[in-house]
Amino acid sequence: MQLSALFLVIVAELSLSTTAFSLAWNRRALHFRGGDVSSSSTTSLRQSSASAEAETPTTSSAGAYLSTVPAGPPDAILGIAEAFKKCTDPRKVNVCVGAYRDEAGKPWVLPSVREAERRMLDDPATNKEYASIIGDAEFVNLALKFAYGADADMSKLAGVQSLSGTGACRIGGHFFSKFLPDEEKPIIYIPTPTWGNHIAIFRECGLEVRRYRYYDSSTNGLDYDGMVQDLKDAPDGSIILLHACAHNPTGCDPTLQQWKDISDMMKEKSHHVFFDSAYQGFASGDAEHDAEALRLFVKEGHTVALAQSFAKNFGLYGERCGTFSLLCNNADEREKVMSQLKLIIRPMYSSPPIHGSSIVRTVLTDDELRGQYYEECSHMAGRIKQMRLLLVEKLKEAGSVHDWSHVTNQIGMFAFTGMNSDMCDELTSEYAIFLTRDGRISLAGLNDNNVEYVAKAIHSVTDGKSITTSS
């Protein structure tokens, strides 16, 4: 019998300090700025919790506030997806959520992903242990190299696993909010239009959200001059959110030369660069090509921030797999930034979910699976491009005389058609075609069986009406 428990014996007083926990956390307790909640219905709700109303006979009246809670507005995009599910019209077409569908209109699990899952299941070493706060380090390393390049200098790159793109934007937003000088609230500029959730995310982080011009609805193309002007007019040192490729929802990207000019201007303005990359590999079919803008800015010396998502390019949507990273000036800064990112993550969800990241890690560490993956990703991008061309072809066949070249020119998963919200509503109510009300169509939802139907429907609702607005 061991007396090895002796270590517990050498205790004189059993007086226990209870302040151990409060200590570590006081350092930089984030003053949560409550934020401008995007939904006005919730702000009208601010009532003192002390003014509880009359008690119902059997329940505690602390719950009385619940009766005043209004139904919140449904999420713009996911709400439409839910409506699609409930719709019983046999003609129904889902072109709203940005999720890839195969030729039969079904979700597609990449074979390389499925193979990775099989290997994980068979591997006796696989367990369900907590990842660290920053996640699976090997995954993060691979993910960052995927974005920044195989020869990227990792020593200055602070990167953490995140809950896909949303989680990465949230971490980044909190980081900027905490550490940029705050004589005023730090400002982030996001393009008009942008992915809807961007606004809510950054507001929750306590940032002031402003917009820069991006889409020219008179040409259905990039409003490059407007973009540049607005970024020049922004206060020095603003945070600028850029879509790394395949801008959501417009599909309009700057050319590489335009990116270079934007980069030069942003240097002069001391702007902070924050890339959101949700479509690498998916935009052109070539993952290296899709990373050009990001890598250009790195080369030009910006200390970029990057939100990276593997939802689309790996088809891992619901497993919530991504990274947030910040390029620092040196390794010492990197250390400090990592420690601060942990302090943002730990009180939010402690550590990230490991299934998706394990899949990506398994694929990218195996040469065969990796090669297979690149082909599969390219295949998805290829099918979408096909649908893009086919849609325009069918629109012409249906008799539409509009200029649909913007649809052919746009990049990525979506076509930003130029239809207004009335036309979109009509498409949904009359034709059971579910798209977002900004006229954005997810091309992955099209296939040989429905593209003609959709083209005819679009023609019906746009015939004789304008799909551009003169600015």
Partner: protein, 454 residues
């Protein structure tokens, strides 16, 4: 190694100076490691680790930063008290190192343990050829339904009446944060937590926008629940406030109120019109009997409280890294339920959009199958039994070595942790000299013990 220095640096920073007197011990049969410790501790006297001044103040400038972002002014954040511990443990190259810090179950060989029913569920899932599409913001509805049934009891009235708002959560942490933020949006300014509580509770709620207040809970003198202090402090909580309770196996003390005490507390909570918020991380794990572990929750539901509940499936299902949980709120009727759910979704969407699928699918597969559910209950009970075994052995060994202290609290405590009563500098000595890692408050994870190392 650079990182290690920083960790070490912070351990010093966090150490307190404490007085203690020495006691005589018989050390004849003690392995060298512990003999050394006893000498060490006796020698140390008052430890006064110099508390270095890590500047937490940002460099004060009024000017905006120049172009290439200077993060040089950012202070190094302190390592997490619990998870940082595991990181330090991982870096330790000492062969006989022991990790009794993180609350994660270990088999008797000291290895992570994946429940056989979980492995089986995963095999079943693989055969179903499922996709990885987005779930809704609120997650997998079937999972949520089964999760709530597990806690409330399937025949619980609010459940059968369809008035419990429920969403999938990122395990315990995620659900606590979502509810905290939602409370803050709806007029709450404060939340009340037991003293002590799980360390992460505090930054979770602070970051959610709530002031954190504590109510008395643990009597350190007697290593027991400070029930009178508990009751008195709850009575003092302002009306309408949210008060957090640990549903069972209080972390870190392992001391729970009796069911009669819970009944009394329920009445006080009613009288003071408080909002009870249960944190349930150990259901099935505490006593080995899942319904029994949910007794406090079910009592409060029966008493008519519109309580809130966060359930974690990290420990009981061993699904730690999958981040599986469920957040629920009992409401008055279906309309309220829908409204509350919509508000929880508004909090979730700008945080992570929708929750990860895999872990929820595993739990769903198990709980929707009677045989797998039985297997789960057995396996979970097996873990709980082994932990209770460890407790008895630990206490027995301590008593055998002739300790003059009462170690009765070790076996009286419930759940994964033993609240040893070690002080901070002893904990540090354990770490630095003997490569035994537990948290600074002297909390020892019984699951990290095994028969050889006890």
């Amino acid at each position: 190694m650079h990182i290690r220095t920083h960790h070490h640096h912070h351990h010093r920073f966090l150490s307190f100076s404490l007085e203690h007197t020495c006691i005589n011990t018989t050390t004849t049969n003690c392995p060298p490691m512990f003999r050394q410790l006893s000498r060490e501790v006796i020698r140390r006297g008052t430890s006064s680790g110099s508390i270095s001044a890590i500047s937490s103040a940002r460099t004060a400038t009024g000017a905006r930063w120049a172009s290439s972002l200077h993060w040089a002014d950012i202070p190094m954040g302190p390592p997490d008290a619990i998870i940082g511990l595991t990181e330090a443990y991982k870096e330790d190259t000492f062969e006989q190192k022991v990790n009794v810090g993180v609350g994660a179950y270990r088999s008797d060989e000291g290895k992570p343990y994946v429940l056989p029913c979980v492995r089986e569920a995963e095999t079943i899932l693989m055969g179903q050829d499922l996709d990885h599409e987005y779930s809704g913001i609120a997650g997998d509805p079937e999972f949520v339904k089964l999760a709530l049934g597990f806690a409330y009891g399937e025949d619980s009235k609010p459940l059968t009446e369809g008035r419990v708002a429920g969403v999938q959560a990122l395990s315990g942490t995620g659900g606590l944060r979502v509810f905290g933020e939602t409370l803050a949006r709806h007029g709450h300014k404060r939340i009340y937590l037991p003293n002590p509580t799980w360390g992460n509770h505090i930054p979770i709620f602070k970051n959610a926008g709530l002031e954190v207040h504590k109510y008395r809970y643990y009597d350190t003198e007697n290593s027991d629940l400070d029930y009178d202090g508990f009751v008195a402090d709850v009575k003092d909580i302002p009306e309408g406030s949210c008060v957090l309770f640990h549903a069972c196996a209080h972390n870190p003390t392992g001391m729970d109120p009796t069911i009669d005490q819970w009944a009394e507390l329920s009445q006080i909570v009613k009288d003071k019109k408080l909002l009870p918020f249960f944190d349930c991380a150990y259901q099935g794990f505490a006593s080995g009997n899942a319904p029994q572990d949910a007794a406090a929750i079910r009592l409060f539901v029966e008493e008519g409280h519109n309580l809130a509940l966060i359930q974690s499936f990290s420990k009981n299902f061993g699904l730690y890294g999958q981040r599986v949980g469920a957040l629920s709120v009992v409401t008055a009727n279906e309309d309220e339920k829908a409204a509350v759910e919509s508000q929880l979704k508004i909090t979730i969407r700008p945080m992570y959009s929708n929750p990860p699928r895999h872990g929820a699918r595993i739990v769903k597969t198990i709980l929707s199958d009677p045989r797998l559910t039985t297997d789960f209950i057995d396996q979970c009970k097996g873990m709980a039994d082994r932990i209770n075994d460890m407790r008895s052995k630990l206490r027995g060994t301590l008593e055998e070595v002739g300790s003059t202290h009462s170690w009765e609290h070790i076996t009286r405590q419930i759940g994964m942790f033993a609240y040893s009563g070690l002080q901070k500098d002893q904990v540090m000595a354990l770490r630095e000299n003997h490569h035994i890692y537990c948290t600074l408050d002297g909390r020892i994870s019984m699951a990290g013990g095994n028969l050889k190392k006890i």
